[in-house]
């Protein structure tokens, strides 16, 4: 199990786009229609958490649930 970006709260999101810029792996994009941030490529989340750290609204949730397929060296 591993952390991953789980949810961006559309109520709290003010559409500033800071998270889109801060993500090193291009997971988050702005939705053209709603003008809010959406998780577009969740499989590329590298779990760094910059989006949640940078969000001025605290709108981004990082989950302890298994969302990303996890491969280990042994198990």
């Amino acid at each position: 199990m591993t952390l991953t970006i789980e949810r961006i709260d559309a109520e709290l999101c003010i559409g500033c786009g800071i998270c889109v810029e801060s993500c090193p792996t291009d997971v988050i994009r702005m939705d053209d229609k709603t003008k809010k941030a959406v998780i577009k490529y969740p499989e590329d989340c590298q779990l760094c958490g910059f989006c949640a750290i940078d969000c001025p609204q605290g709108a981004i949730y990082i989950s302890p649930e298994k969302r990303t397929p996890l491969l280990t060296s042994w198990g």
Binding site: L3, P24, Q46, C48, T72, S73
Partner: protein, 528 residues
């Protein structure tokens, strides 16, 4: 879907710097200080890309502490099992304090005690006293400050632009081609000199250190341009451990017990956890309820893999191309990572040197005119995956590659019986899957090129691991379990010759070799 009739955005600059971490920022700032025009390009965001955000601190030794410099250099020599480059080790330690002063001047705060002296990071041990300085806010600090100085100096910054290939003409690198995230437009950056600071790379491990954007782009681009690569047989053991209960564990030195309740010896930057698994004594526990599995990062040893710098100015032997940071194999440590904090320090020292040298080189050059006929072939190779109607998705191919590389018995406990078939599989990926990768959108086009780079890196790692027929440092061969000083006081070099990956030895200079008449235990005091 983005328009596939791409536009070309042409930028002309004196010095192009590729990357977004400590090395890239030092290169950009030091070049800019020389008064030349500088363009800094990151596929992510400056300060948030690559490994730099995860640094705890940096190594810095005041130049007057000559004994400390000597002691550290000697430790790196023995700890790296005689495969460090002694000249670079001493150079980087000697210049560490000046670069630390730059970091302070750029507004990066470091931790101080009540007397106002800089102090070591929490994770530091006594041995690190007096040389390793902690970032005030811990890991993540660079993300806040690193971008400021290049911006202040008037460096042109392009973010979310992935450089895919270097433009080489008449034997010299004269710029690079990049892609962007919202369209299939191409960036054509014409540059008099180029500094590669795009880090090293792993295989996008999930759980463990965040390496999702480190895909060996810099090593592979420089390799294609003709540079020499080294250090690929070694492994970085900044262990990423995954807690079964959820979450990831990023610390690397933990007391552990195995499934039989015995404590695991020497757990840290070493093989012991993997050996426990290999012998059937996994999982590992910390306390009563935390259960761990290992994650192979796929990185080689920090600062000891990548492009071989042919001179003290970080030049590569390919005109117009310089390397710095984890793209540059200064080999300040050798077969094992024996000098904590040296990654950040090495990045700043090589970044500064490469930036200065590139600025000097650019002053002697005029911007060469592009041979557009040759260039159109390169351009096609960059954009072709977006023009294909079908093929293989980069995510699927990356998953296959991860499946091949992740098990402990490939990169950590090695054997020719496993390396050879894995190499054959990687060659199939290179020859059959790579040419058929296709991208449905610009995001996937980035993934296609990252996947191709990771596959070339995997090939390098398999070939280098097969080639070194001994065990040394973090390179462990079950079929050659002992060190072999007569054969292997040498670096494993990789270069493209007539389109083929070629592996060969570069001997360690005589004066850096250990005394072969001394008892084995003296030569290798850390050996168990």
């Amino acid at each position: 879907m983005a328009d596939k009739n791409n536009q070309e955005i042409v930028i002309e600059t004196d010095v192009l710097v590729i990357g977004g971490g400590i090395a890239a920022c030092f290169a950009a700032v030091k070049a800019r200080e020389q008064g030349v025009d500088v363009t800094l390009v990151s596929k992510g965001v400056i300060g948030r890309s690559g490994m730099s955000p995860w640094a705890h601190g940096t190594m810095a030794v005041p130049p007057e502490k000559k004994d400390k410099i000597r002691e550290l250099a000697d430790q790196a020599h023995v700890g790296g099992e005689y495969l460090n480059n002694c000249t670079w080790t001493e150079r980087v330690i000697r210049e560490s304090y000046a670069r630390f002063q730059d970091m302070l001047a750029w507004g990066q705060p470091f931790l101080k005690d009540e007397k106002g002296d800089y102090i070591k990071p929490m994770s530091g041990n006594q041995e690190q006293e007096g040389r390793l300085w902690a970032l005030e806010d811990g890991p993540g600090s660079w993300a806040k400050s690193l971008r400021n100085q290049p911006v202040k100096m008037g460096v042109r910054i392009l973010e979310k632009v992935m450089i895919v290939d270097l433009i080489k003409q008449d034997g010299a690198v004269v710029g690079a081609v990049g892609i962007t995230r919202n369209s299939f437009d191409l960036y054509v950056i014409r540059a008099k000199a180029t500094v590669m600071c795009a880090g090293s790379g792993g295989f996008k491990p999930v759980g463990g250190w965040p390496l999702g954007d480190l895909t060996s782009d810099g090593h592979v681009m420089a390799y294609r341009a003709g540079a020499e690569i080294t250090g690929k047989e070694f492994e970085d053991f900044h262990n990423g451990m995954v807690r079964r209960q959820g979450g990831i564990w990023l610390s690397n030195i933990l007391p552990m017990t195995n499934a039989e309740g015995d404590s695991v010896p020497g757990f840290g930057f070493g093989l012991s956890a993997d050996i426990e698994a290999h012998e059937g004594r996994a999982p590992l526990y910390r306390g009563e309820d935390e259960v761990f599995s290992g994650v192979a990062l796929g990185l080689s040893v920090h600062t000891a893999e990548g492009v071989w710098p042919v001179d003290e100015d970080c030049s590569t032997g390919v005109s117009g191309l310089y390397v710095a940071g984890d793209s540059c194999a200064t080999m300040i440590v050798g077969a094992a990572y024996s000098m904590g904090g040296s990654g950040s320090c090495n990045a700043s020292v090589t970044g500064a040197r490469a930036g200065l040298a590139a600025a000097g080189y650019s002053r002697q050059k005029v911007l060469p005119s592009i041979n557009w006929e040759e260039f159109s072939e390169l351009k096609d190779s960059v954009i072709m995956p977006a023009r294909r109607k079908g093929g293989f998705s980069p995510n699927w191919v990356t998953q296959l590659l991860k499946n091949a590389m992740m098990p402990y018995y490939i990169l950590r406990i090695k054997h020719a019986d496993r390396l050879q078939p894995t190499l054959a599989f990687v060659e199939f990926m290179r020859d059959h899957l790579c040419p058929r990768l296709f991208a449905r959108d610009p995001h996937e086009l980035r993934l296609v090129h990252e996947t191709k780079n990771m596959i070339i890196n995997a090939e390098m790692k398999m070939r280098a691991s097969l080639f070194r027929t001994e065990s040394r440092g973090t390179h462990y061969r079950e079929d050659y379990p002992l060190r072999s000083d007569p054969d292997w006081l040498a670096w494993v070099m990789i270069r493209q010759v007539n389109g083929k990956m070629t592996v060969y030895k570069k001997p360690i200079p005589q004066e850096w070799r250990p005394d072969l008449t001394a008892p084995y235990e003296e030569r290798y005091p850390a050996a168990v």
